[in-house]
């Protein structure tokens, strides 16, 4: 997560959140904030301990465990995957994201002994990203078919669009049609991307809006 500021000075952390963040620091926790989102990135070895510390210092509910694949994120340095633990404090409503950065092939310890709710959540991360959770009681695919090949939410997994065939033999290729809409390819609309001359452009990086060709792995 790109931080607007690397310190917590632009938002007031609630006391309980501040206390928990301080306890996570000796485990290698790095604090980042963005608007009112608080996240602490811990190294892989300490993740169970970090979640235990957070649970004991008030963040007794886990909302979600999910993964993010930063393969085609512009300007991303570091490991490819991030697994984030979305934890909530029932008193006072603080929310804390504990993040772990891992590479492909690395596995994480499970937290199902701390929160039974994490069972399906970790299975979904395994299904969609291929992250193995050691010690999980039942690590199988959750949403995709059992004999499915690949992990769909990875950025190098294609969306799987098939061209739409019409009765008279016409066919419409969805990706090309959509690429034409956002200027990555002149396609059906002829627009070559970028802003028109004289327009105010807020984006610091070049021509062509959006990230396309994600499926084919082009940055």
């Amino acid at each position: 997560m790109v931080a607007v500021s690397d310190t917590a000075s632009d938002i007031e952390l609630a006391a309980a959140t501040r206390a928990t963040v301080d306890k996570l620091e000796p485990l290698g926790g790095v604090l980042k904030t963005f608007k009112d989102m608080v996240s602490v990135t811990v190294p892989k070895e300490h993740i169970v301990e970090a979640v235990t510390v957070a649970k004991e210092s008030g963040f007794a509910m886990i909302s979600d465990v999910f993964g993010i694949d930063y393969l085609t994120y512009p300007g991303h340095q570091g490991k490819r995957f991030t697994v984030a633990y979305n934890m909530r404090n029932p008193d006072g409503n603080g929310r804390l994201f504990i993040r772990v950065d891992i590479d492909e092939g690395e596995s994480l310890p499970t937290i199902t002994h701390l929160f039974k709710a994490a069972n399906f959540m970790e299975r979904e991360v395994y299904d969609m990203f291929g992250v193995v959770f050691d010690g999980h009681p039942d690590l199988r695919r959750l949403l995709t078919p059992e004999d499915f090949d690949g992990h769909p939410h990875r950025k190098d997994f294609p969306l799987g669009e098939t061209p739409t065939l019409f009765g008279e033999g016409r066919f419409l290729d969805p990706a090309a049609f959509r690429a034409g809409l956002v200027g990555a390819d002149p396609g059906l609309t002829g627009w070559k991307g970028g802003a028109a001359k004289g327009a105010v452009s807020e984006q610091p990086y070049g021509q062509g809006a959006g990230m396309h060709g994600k499926e084919s792995g082009k940055p």
Binding site: T144, P152, T164
Partner: protein, 178 residues
């Protein structure tokens, strides 16, 4: 659909003499078309509209679909209501094969008919590739009135009054072989 339409010149005979001549196939087709019992195959949002079509305002049972049979062995028509995922496709095929002949399939909604707004790794792009579809219903979701119209079209197809998209008359469903 009344007796009058089915047996035009015989109605007078019926009214005068109290007897009626017809072919057995026509009679069977008439009976079948007016008692199509659907198998519950609601998958997603279209299933909710299918349920709405059985409520008191849009009453599907007045067209013969009195009950939605849970067991495919007792059903005539399978209304595929919703997006069919690739994980579910073999199960749908099995349920279809468990239905006794004659059977029909209505593909309800855009997702069942063509993949709809989802064109990705998980959704079957046309249910026709898994089961033979008789009626396609567009909409996302189709209004209950659309589903009722689809059932009426299926009734016409069963009776032999239907035409396909090229204007060719579709044959009446044969009594014994389908």
């Amino acid at each position: 659909m009344g007796l009058r339409d089915l047996f035009e010149k015989d109605v007078q005979e019926l009214e005068n003499d109290g007897i009626l001549f017809s072919s057995l196939e026509k009679l069977v087709a008439w009976g079948r078309s007016n008692s199509l019992w659907p198998a519950t195959f609601g998958l997603a949002c279209c299933a909710i509209e299918m349920m709405q079509s059985t409520n008191a305002r849009n009453d599907l049972s007045r067209f013969g679909s009195e009950v939605f049979r849970a067991s495919p062995r007792q059903a005539d028509v399978m209304i595929v209501a919703g997006r069919l995922s690739k994980k579910m496709a073999p199960i749908m095929r099995r349920v279809y094969e468990q239905m006794p002949d004659p059977k029909w399939v209505i593909s309800m909604g855009a997702c069942a008919s063509s993949g709809g707004m989802f064109n990705n790794y998980a959704i079957v792009q046309n249910v026709d590739s898994v089961v033979p579809v008789d009626i396609f219903v567009p909409g996302c979701p189709p209004r209950p009135e659309s589903l009722v119209f689809a059932v009426m079209q299926l009734q016409k197809k069963v009776r032999g009054d239907a035409f396909d998209q090229h204007g060719v008359e579709l044959p009446m469903v044969e009594g014994w072989s389908r």
